[in-house]
Amino acid sequence: MTGFPILSVLIAVPMIAAIACLFVSANTARMLALAGTLIDFVLGIMLWMNYDIGGAQWQFVEHAPGIFGPFGWSLGIDGFALMLIMLSVFLMPICIGASWRSITTRVPEYMAAFLFTEVLMIGTFAAQDLFLFYVFFEAGLIPMYLIIGIWGGANRIYASYKFFLYTLLGSVLMFIAMLYMAKTAGTTSIPALLNYDFPAHVQTWLWLAFFASFAVKMPMWPVHTWLPDAHVQAPTAGSVILAGVLLKLGGYGFLRFLLPMFPEASGQLTWLIFGLSAVAVIYTSLVALVQSDMKKLIAYSSVAHMAIVTIGLFAFNRQGIEGAMIMMLSHGLVSGALFLCVGVIYDQLHTREISRYGGLAINMPRYAILFLFFTMASIGLPGTSGFVAEFLSLMGTYQVSTWTALLCTTSIILGAAYMLYLYRRVVFGEIKSDDVRGMVDLSAREFWLLAPIAAVVLWMGVYPESFLAPMRKDVSVLLARVDRAKPASDSNPTAGKPATVHDAAHGEAH
């Protein structure tokens, strides 16, 4: 594969398809979009097959410096980026499929917007130049703004503004910080900046600027309020891509920038992350419990799950970081699938009110089974990806802060509460009205949208090694980088006799 610019091709294919979509009829645009995303999926699989696990840190590197003046076209991926690109290319054909029938107006523009989104997501994960990253990262706002605003629900305009301006305000501060970094370090190359040591007092400012951007994107409490609005108003596929991939940009940013570039600041400000995350878990879970709108409920659950990602990342140990990554992948799949499940019944009844449904298990048995599976995955039932993610993250966190771990573990209990409560109201019970009785079970199309996700969720839950292996070396590199700033642990493991392996390792680190 050497010499073949696979990352550029991954970006170019949806780009070309998007432009072509604008000039064709609705049906052709659908086929074209599906073809484009499937080609990208195949390319993604080739990327994964050819990824050399344990090899060089940066693979598939492409470098064309200076073609954009102060910054160049440089791409390359490590294990983290690989996994997130896989998530994007996997979800994208599903999104197109989910919009096949439900989107009837301005189809060519819709498909083009989705393909552009795919271009920008892959670009963000693959960018190795600071400003190239920023361009891809920010540009994602435009297609998403249009998707929410044109094809969204009744209150779509408010939601589209809120989405756009919130995330823009977060990002522009990061832009200034990037300019400073590029000037101080004299390079815009992300791999070089990963090993550049900024003075500690500067790190804090830079950290806060980046945090402002990624915390909004993530989203963390208290800047999460754009998410429920955006999710509720966005069309189904828009919600899937928003929850599935766009939120991961925040987590990826923490992983790629905040931790390795500003280790000292990260160590000092861990309390902030832990505090906000603990509040997010408990508060948003409780809010989710009282929602009457299905999409809003899942949106709030996303905020809670993303808080598990942040505590895992800032645990400064292998379990935490691996758990956070698995959480991102798992949440991308599971919440995406849950939004699809909502979309299936929304397409029939055109309401997201939970109280309008009930008893779907009677007339939609296949739907009930898949919905149950994803509900359980969201709760974190062993055997699903959610369990691996929560277990690793919380275990990592426990080694640093027992209190945070204690507070955040309520996510499992509260998660079970709101998800099961949702499931009971929608699927169990008696059918209350005639229009619900008239609903039909999953069509073949809908079934084949959900089944692959279910398979991957199960795969990740039973054998997470496939997903952890490509990232293992990158976690080691990251840990070696941040180890010096590791916050002190409050769990104070008592050295018993004989000393455990863990204690010995801990002793050496000091």
Binding site: I67, F68, V135, E138, L146, L169, L173, I176
Partner: protein
């Protein structure tokens, strides 16, 4: 220095001046019938002036005993000015063809040529008096252009307002110049710079403040911006497009030259003024635009907002900053001319121009191509990547951060989010709202082509031009330091 060399360095201005005079004579005998021919000839005169720029005019140094400076900086600004002027001439015929009773008269291209000549003198002036002469030549032509529709009340009002306030600004500027002259004993930039070296006297500082106040008026920076929305709204649309592009470039380039060449040693003093004007322009331009319902007024506030961003580059006071200003202006001219060309297409069924933002409703369905172009311009003006407007902001903010002006950069970029709101509103109107009656179809291939050209320049494809334009702006900026 012999006369031939002086003439060679001022050749572009001479071409424009002589061309304008010759065309005026043709107009005197040819009358309105000759309008079309004169317009075409005027564009060729601008092209000729552009060709004349390639000679000693681009790098000859001082002409006429230091009164005039032919350098790369002036050349770059002139190229932008000539392009914007040519577009202003090209977009006029179809607009005036539809006005009631106000035909396009041959004076229009001639006045634009004279104005362009004045602007050329402005950006190349290296003496306060040359500068003033150039400025007045540009302004007087512009006053007439603003009130070009004699039967239209708003146009006449715009011309009068522009004249009264412009005269006031010229007065302030002249007062500043006289103070500087009084305390430094010279009007040549190099001599003034010597006087500012060391600790400038109070009189020199007052002179500096008045000069900058006068310049701020010309670039419509806050707090001297109040004429802009009224003039932009009232003037005929092609003239508004002209005002928002060419004179803005000229006035900003002139301000940069005065700040760097004449008052370079007093950078710390004028930097405070520039920072204030920049932030005030960005914030006021953004906040005041929110309530606008007229698209021309909206673009007027947008131009105030954009001047603020360009001034951020000047505040840096470094070659990178000046290069950033030029880069900003280049991209700004394309975005602005493109936006006004789209505004020109906003015509009701009866062919009359409409200007309300509401009339854009649902344009993405009735005129998808035009809507896409305007959306590109709006996102670009808001500075959202991957559009080229982002790189404009990149260039000036990068210079500000390099110069250590962090508070300026942070406040400026945060205020740009406010600006994004009203640009988004235009996109929202076009894409999210239900269609209003469609505009009359476009019947002018030239305008369609220009819109497409501007949109492609502003699209991500423009990034490929960065190395070329960047090298050019940097060379231009170095000429000043």
């Amino acid at each position: 220095m012999d006369y031939a060399a002086n003439i060679a360095m001022t050749l572009p201005e001479l071409v424009l001046a002589l061309g304008a005079i010759a065309l005026m004579l043709v107009a005197a005998w040819g009358g309105e019938k000759a309008t079309r021919a004169i317009s075409i000839a005027a564009v060729f005169v601008l092209v000729g002036a552009g060709i004349a720029l390639t000679g000693p005019a681009s790098s000859g140094g001082y002409a006429f005993d230091g009164m005039f400076r032919a350098d790369a900086f002036g050349t770059f600004a002139k190229v932008l000015i000539y392009i914007a002027s040519a577009v202003a001439i090209m977009m006029a015929p179809s607009f005036f063809a539809r006005t009631q009773g106000d035909n396009l008269r041959p004076e229009y291209p001639v006045l634009i040529l004279l104005s362009a000549c004045g602007m050329g003198i402005m950006v190349s002036a290296s003496d306060m008096l040359t500068l003033y002469v150039g400025l007045e030549l540009q302004s007087l032509a512009a006053y007439v252009l603003a009130s070009f529709m004699r039967r239209d009340g708003r146009s006449a009002e715009a011309g009068l307002k522009y004249f009264v306030l412009g005269a006031l600004a010229s007065g302030i500027l002249l007062y500043g110049i006289s103070l500087v002259y009084g305390f430094s004993g010279t009007t040549v930039f190099a001599g003034i710079a010597d006087a500012y070296a060391g600790t400038p006297s109070l009189g020199l500082l007052f002179g500096l403040v008045f000069v900058f106040a006068g310049l701020a008026f010309k670039i419509s920076a806050v707090p001297f911006h109040m004429w802009t929305p009224d003039v932009y709204e009232g003037a005929p649309t092609p003239v508004t497009a002209f005002f928002a592009s060419a004179p803005k470039v000229a006035a900003l380039a002139m301000s940069v030259r005065v700040a760097v060449e004449a008052m370079g040693p007093a950078t710390d003093q004028w930097r405070q003024i520039v920072i204030f004007a920049a932030l005030a322009s960005i914030i006021l331009g953004a906040v005041a635009a929110i309530g606008q319902t007229n698209v021309k007024r909206l673009l007027a506030y947008s131009s105030i907002n954009n001047v603020g961003f360009a001034l951020i580059g000047l505040a840096a006071g470094t070659p990178e900053g000046v290069s950033g200003v030029l880069m900003y202006l280049t991209i700004y001219v394309a975005m602005t001319l493109g936006s006004f060309l789209v505004v020109l297409q906003m015509r009701g069924d009866d062919g009359q121009p409409v200007e309300s933002i509401a009339s854009l409703s649902g344009m993405s369905r009735t005129r998808p191509g035009l809507a896409a172009a305007l959306a590109i311009f709006m996102f670009s003006l808001a500075g959202i990547p991957p559009l080229f407007g982002f790189y404009a902001k990149f260039a000036v903010f990068s210079a500000a951060v390099d110069a250590g002006l962090f508070p300026l950069a942070v406040v400026g970029i945060a205020a740009s989010v406010i600006g994004a709101y009203y640009y988004l509103r235009v996109v929202k109107t076009m894409y999210f709202d239900d269609p209003a009656p469609a505009f009359a179809p476009m019947d002018n291939k030239v305008e369609g082509g220009l819109i497409a050209l501007a949109a492609i320049f502003v699209s991500p494809a423009g990034y490929l031009l960065i190395p070329v334009i960047g090298a050019w702006t940097m060379a231009a900026a170095r000429a000043l330091f």
